[in-house]
Amino acid sequence: MAELLEVRNLVKHFPVTRGVLFKKTVGHVRAVDGVSFTLAAGETLGVVGESGCGKSTLAQVLMMLEPPTAGEALFEGRPMFAMRGNALRDLRRNMQIVLQDPYTSLNPRMTVGDIVGEPFEIHPEVAPRGSRAARVRELLDVVGLNPEHINRYPHQFSGGQRQRIGIARALALRPKVIVCDEPVSALDVSIQAQVMNLLRELQGEFGLAYVFIAHDLSVVRHLSDRVAVMYLGKIVEIGTEDEIYRHPTHPYTQALLSAVPVADPALRGQRDVIRLTGDVPSPIDPPSGCRFRTRCWKAQDVCAEQEPALVDRGGHPSACHFAEERSVVP
């Protein structure tokens, strides 16, 4: 498969400053610290990790809402971060984002028609003026909303419906990649499934590639071809859905998986529960060597001295000196 998006060693540090008049940088929050992955056309890459591990920052940097500190990203082989003018406009057409909170991601003073039609106003070459209203109605229909509601305001819709509006807006320019920044985390479980199914249908219909960010492993599994597990700004393990869920080799992935609730009562109690102790260390001052070592039951001296590289260990890339398969979920 041709690589649509290739991210190399992406870094985003936020300076921590002190002082009112004379600002002094006293440290950096290492939100994203050397992340690399590829995304093929039509593929879904799930990104999971707990709160504060840098998932959303990754999305913001990919959408060029925040400038990266270092690293590179190629879209169809061309470096993204150097793009200006028309090249950047083209990129914006090809990459869109669905944000987490449907209550804040829609402008409360605009009607649904204006919100979904705004991409056409910014990129007038996509749809001639006369056809825009029809295109907006079509988009609303595609995401499962009543096209008659085009003149309503966001506050007249439920959370799930609002997220559909956000998806319609992202879809308007027919992008190749949609970055979904926890698109279902703010929704009820029953609505989550509807929105997930919608995203999957749209992927089939339009050949979309997703970077799907979530903190819920079961949500990611439902949609992803490949999954990347993040911890403190780094990817600790990446592989196909089967490799990550059936044959995890990194202790952090194993611990995460063991925390997923099991729906089948017959299987309950059979799985191997791993309880992690302690908190996530501060991203301002991450541990030396392996970042997970402070909470890892396998940690040895080597973990503090040498940072494990994300290289193939036991079938797929895993960043652990003691990578070893352990079936957590029966």
Binding site: R89, R92, Q96, L99, S105, N107, I122, Q156, G166
Partner: protein, 299 residues
Amino acid sequence: MTEQISVLALDKPRGLFGDAWYTLRSRPLFWVSVSLILLMVLMALFPALFTAKDPTLAQLSLSRQPPSADAWFGYDNQGYDIYARVIYGARASIVVGVLATLGVVLVGASVGILAGFYGGWLDSVVSRIADVFVGVPFVLGAIVILTTLNAGGDAGPARIVAQVVLSIAALSWPVSMRIMRSTAIAAKQQDYVKAARALGASPRRIITKHMLPNCIAPVLVYSTIALGAFIGAEATLSYLGIGLRQPVVSWGVMINSAKDYLRVAPHALLFPAGFLTATVLAFVMLGDAVREALDPKLR
């Protein structure tokens, strides 16, 4: 509850201002202030509707006559009909108030939204300049501006009004600028602004389509209250003898000329002062009602 159901049944889309109007409609405070303001505006536009008398006709023989059936508010020291002058005085007071508010809101809001949106050095420079203007006490600043502008002496009525408007606007714009700046900073972080940036929207589009409609409410509320305050400020400056003055007729000018005869002709001061108070109060009440209607948390 029944109201909510009927709204849902109507199924008419309403924006935030539509919602605000819906709340305002049922508030007596709103209607009282609006009718008072409409009455004052009508007086300012068509004073002849209210009185047939000439406000510039001085009849010294009638000097300081108390109110009577013939002259409802009596006569002042110069023998002017106070009722006629109060009616005609509404125009200058309201014109000053409206123009000063427009100036303050246009300058303050546009500078504030730019400072809030771009941040950085622009924000620092603008904020420090605003601090300088806020640091000057209002009356002192107005005295300095007005005496400097009017060093030559005799200016026409239009020029006097322009000078007073300018001095009020110059000393008050930082307030609306600060309000706008802080709401703009909050709005800039909103997800819908991020979504617009991800779509490739220009800064101009983000400011006009996304930030301005969401930031304007607090400034609108402030401007309603400020309009009342500026009418009062005009009266203050006129009372001190540096604002409007003869031949312009305004409530402040009337209060100024009546102050020396308070004990012998209190009606000459009470009537213009009463109209001034009522107008200021009406705008403040309107601002209060609008603020409550626009703020969903207070509903």
